[in-house]
C-alpha cells in the first residue's frame, strides 16, 4: 500500500458539490464534513460528533443557518468547529470542539489541507484551465476501490492508452514512442513527455478537432505529488508550424487533462477528472461527445484498477513487479511519494488548529 502523504493539499470536492447540503468525504482516512456558509464560503471540519461519534453528514443531521446540528442528540457546531449547543444543559464543555481543516477554493476545486502542521504560505498547485474563459471543461469524479498509488502508476505511464483505451485515445504510436522523464525533487514534480511526430489520430481527437489524416501529438505530463496531475496534450496536423517563441500556438489544438488524485482510505481513492479544451468552445455536441467519451475512458481505468487491486489482495507478501523504460515516470513518482510520506512522519507535529 502506498503511504499517505500528510501536510499537503488535496482536492476534497468540486466547488459545485459544496453547498447548503452537508457533504461527507473521507480524505487520508479522516472523515470530513463539507458545506458552504450562507455567504458562500466553503468550510471543512471533522465529520464525527464529539458526543457519541455520530456521522454529521448523515440525515437527520442538518444545517441551521451556518451551524451544523447533529441528527442524533442535537449537538450544534459553528463554522469554527466550536460546539454552541448541548441538549439538556446550558454549559458547553470546553473540549466540545470539532477539528477544522484549512480550505482553499481555487480552479473550481475545493482543496483541503490534511496534516499536523499549518499550511502557512503554501497554496495548492494550480490548474487554471478549470475556470478560464478561454477553455471549455467537462469533468466528473469517480471513486476507485484501489490504493491511490495504482492511479498514479496508471496516469504516469500513458503507454497503457494503446491497450486499455484502444479505439478511444490509444493508438500504436503511444506505446511505441519513447518517453523523456525529468524530476524536480525539490518541488516534488515529475515531468514525462512523449512527442509523436507522425501518428494516427484517435477517434477522441479526430471527432472533436475535425482534423483528418495523421497528426503531431504531444503528451506532456506534469505530476505535482501527491494530489494533482496535469497532462498538456497538443494535437496538430502533420506539417503544421510548431509553437511560437512567445508560447502562442495558433495552429494546434490543446487539451488540458487535469486529475485530482485524492487518497480516501488505504484502498479507496477519489478520481477527480477533467478535460479542458481551447477549441470549439461553444460547440455543445463536442462538449457532450468529450464528456461521454472521457467518462468511458475513465471508467476503463476504474474497472482495471478495481480488478488489479483485487488481484493484488490475493498476492503473497513480497510479490515481484518488473519495471521497464515506460515506468521511469511512475517509479520517480513513487520515490517522491515515499520521501514525502517519510518526511511527514519524521517531523514533529504542531498542534492542529
Amino acid at each position: 500500500m502506498t503511504a499517505f502523504v500528510r501536510d499537503e493539499w488535496y482536492v476534497a470536492a468540486y466547488g459545485r458539490e459544496v453547498g447548503r447540503e452537508l457533504l461527507g468525504r473521507t480524505v487520508l482516512g479522516e472523515p470530513i464534513l463539507l458545506y458552504r456558509t450562507e455567504d458562500g464560503r466553503p468550510v471543512a471540519m471533522s465529520e464525527r460528533c464529539v458526543h457519541r461519534r455520530f456521522p454529521l453528514s448523515q440525515a437527520p443531521s442538518r444545517l441551521d443557518g451556518d451551524r451544523v446540528v447533529c441528527g442524533y442528540h442535537g449537538f450544534t457546531y459553528g463554522t469554527d468547529g466550536g460546539c454552541v449547543s448541548v441538549p439538556g444543559q446550558q454549559r458547553i464543555p470546553r473540549t466540545a470542539r470539532l477539528k477544522t481543516y484549512p480550505v482553499v477554493e481555487q480552479d473550481s476545486f475545493v482543496w483541503i489541507w490534511i496534516g499536523d502542521r499549518e499550511p502557512g504560505d503554501k497554496l495548492p498547485p494550480r490548474a487554471p484551465w478549470m475556470d478560464s474563459p478561454d477553455y471549455t471543461v467537462v469533468s466528473g469524479m469517480e471513486p476507485i476501490d484501489s490504493d491511490y498509488g495504482l492511479l498514479v502508476d496508471n496516469l504516469m505511464d500513458l503507454s497503457h492508452e494503446t491497450y486499455l483505451h484502444g479505439g478511444y485515445i490509444g493508438t500504436p504510436e503511444v506505446a511505441e514512442t519513447p518517453i523523456t522523464t525529468e524530476v524536480d525533487d525539490a518541488a516534488g514534480i515529475v515531468y514525462v513527455s512523449r512527442h509523436m511526430d507522425d501518428a494516427e489520430c484517435p477517434p477522441f481527437y479526430a471527432k472533436s478537432t475535425g482534423v483528418e489524416g495523421r497528426i503531431t501529438r504531444w503528451q506532456d505530463v506534469e505530476y505535482h505529488a501527491p494530489g494533482l496531475y496535469l497532462l498538456h496534450s497538443r494535437v496538430a496536423p502533420v506539417g503544421s508550424p510548431g509553437p511560437n517563441p512567445d508560447g502562442s500556438d495558433p495552429h494546434a489544438f490543446h487539451v488540458e487533462v487535469v486529475y485530482g488524485i485524492t487518497p480516501s482510505t488505504e484502498k479507496t481513492t477519489y478520481d477527480f477528472w477533467a478535460v479542458a479544451r481551447d477549441f470549439a468552445l461553444d460547440d455543445q455536441d463536442i462538449t457532450e461527445f468529450l464528456r461521454t467519451n472521457n467518462h468511458t475512458v475513465v471508467m476503463q481505468d476504474v474497472v482495471a484498477l478495481n480488478v488489479l487491486q483485487k488481484s493484488l489482495d490475493t498476492e503473497k507478501a513480497g510479490y515481484q513487479e518488473l519495471s521497464v523504460n515506460i515506468d521511469t515516470g511512475g517509479l520517480a513518482a513513487r520515490r517522491i511519494l515515499a520521501r514525502l510520506a517519510q518526511t511527514g512522519a519524521e517531523q514533529p507535529a504542531a498542534p492542529a488548529r
Copy 2:
C-alpha cells in the same frame, strides 16, 4: 465493544415465533435452536449437530415429533439434547448430546438463560403489560448491525427523540428537560426520569389519545441490565389531576414501552420492541397507527445505529467520546454492564447442564 454478560436471562424470541418450525437464533455468540414440543413447551438447545457441526435450523433438518433430525446425516436428538439415533449403527456414543438451555415463557417472550451456572431461583424480569387484558400491544423484532451497547446508549438517553425522531415522538421539551437518574447497583437497575409539566403533544400521542393542546408528559425509564428496558410513559392534558395515592391514575393515558435487548454477536443485536397502551383497547385504527408509527421510529434507530457502528469501525483505537448530563443514565448502565461482565468472568463456571 460492550462485553457480554453471561449467567443472565435474555429474550430469545416472542412466544409466537416458537412453534413447530425449527428456529435458529444466535444469542451471546451461541447458536441456539428453538422449537415447541407437541404439548406446547418451548425448548432450546445447541443449534449445531455433534457430528459435523451442521446447523440444525437449516433445511432439510426437521422435526420428527418432538425430535430434531439433522438434515445432513440424520443424527436425531430428543428434547433433552440427547442423541437417539445415529445412521448406520445401533450404538449411540455417550458424548452425542447437545447442550440445552433453560427456557422460561413469560410475558409473551421466550427467555433463555445463557451462562455457565444454573439460574436457580433467578427468574427473568417482568413486563406484565405484554399479555395483560388491560393493555393492547403492538410489537416486533428488528435485527441491528451494531454492538448491543449502542442500543442501550440509545434507549437510556431519550433526548435523541427530539432530533432522530422529530415529528414522531420527539418535541423540543424532551431534549430541554433535565433528567434525574437513580441506580440500584445491587439489583442492576438504572432509573431515569424526565417529567415535562407543559409540553407540546407529539403526533404519536395526539392521534392515539385524542388529546388536544399541551400535555404533561412523564418518561420513567427502568433498565434491568442487561436485557430488559421499560419506559413508563404517562400523558395527560395540562392541568389534569395526578395519580392517586393508591397508584390508580384515571385521568392519564399510559403507554408501556418494552424492549428486549439481546446481544447476538459482537456487532449484531436483536431489538425486540413493544408498545402496550391502556386506552382505546379495541380501536383497530389506533392499533394500526401505533404499529406503523412505532415501527418507523424503531427503524430510525436501527438505521442510525447501523450507520454509527460502521462509523465507529473506521475510528482509530482509543477514540474519544464526550459525555454530558443527558448521558448519566447511559453511563450508569455501562458501568453496571461492565461490572456484571467482569463478575461473570471471575466466577468459576459450574458445568452446564
Copy 3:
C-alpha cells in the same frame, strides 16, 4: 482448514472449457491462465503479468495467435511463458517470464500439476468412462464456498444421501447399511463399499433404468487423494445374476460417478461432477433427466457445504466433532491428505520449470 497437497495433478477444467478465449482459474491459491493453441494444445501459465500483476484472463487482455497480450500495457507472452514484446523498447528483460504449468488432457479433463517438483512419470489418475463410446455422460462444474475437505467428507460418507438427497438418490437403506473401508496408503487411495442386497429404488434410478420394484444396489467408492473421486454404482433387480468372473455384468445397470475435487482458495473449491452410464446411451430424455436431476443433487450439496462453512467460521477454535462408523472412509481420507500435505512441505523444492 484442510491443508493443500502440492506436487499433485488437479482437474483445472473440462477440455471443452479450454479454447480460444482466455480462461482464469485459481488452483491451490495460484492464479492460472488456460487457453488452447491454434493447433489444439491446452496450455497453462501464471495469470498475472510480470509487469504490474494485471490479471491476464481479464479483458481487454486477449490472444494474438498463440500469444497472450496483457490488456493493461501490452506485455506479450508465448506459450512457454516467455515475454516476447514489451511496449516502448526492443530489449526484453531476461526475467520477463511467466511460470508455466504441466498440463495433461485426459478423460475429457484438463489436468494441471501444481507443485515445486516436476511430475516426471506420474500421470493423473484415470476416469476412462468420461470419453468412452460405451458410456453417455452428463457433467458440470459448480464452485463451492467451502474448504475442499468438506467436499471430501461429503463424498466419502454417502449415508448423507438418505437425508440431504432424500427423494432423489437417497433411501433409508443407504444410511442403514454398514460400510467396509479399505485404505491403500502407498497409492493414496481409500475404498468404501456399501452393498445393499434388497433396497428401495430411488426415483433417480427407477426413472433412468426402467427397473420396477426392489433392487440390489452397490456403491463402491474409490477416492484417489487428493483430486479424483470415483463412485462405481451398480443397480440390478433383486434376484438378478451377479457379475461374471471375467468382470462382465450384463444383468446390471452401471453408473460411474466422477468428481474432480480441486481446491481453489482456502475456502473455495471447484466441484467438477459427472455421471456416466452404460445404458440407454442414445436416449435424450434420460440424458436430460439425469442432467437435471444430478445438478439438483449437486446443488443440494453445494448449498449444504456453503452453509456448513459459514457455520464453522463462527465456531470457536478447537470446536469438537464426533465421528462414528460411517466416517471411517472420510477419516482415512483426512489422514492421507494430512500425510501428503506434510510430505510435500518437508521435501526440498526443485526449481519450478
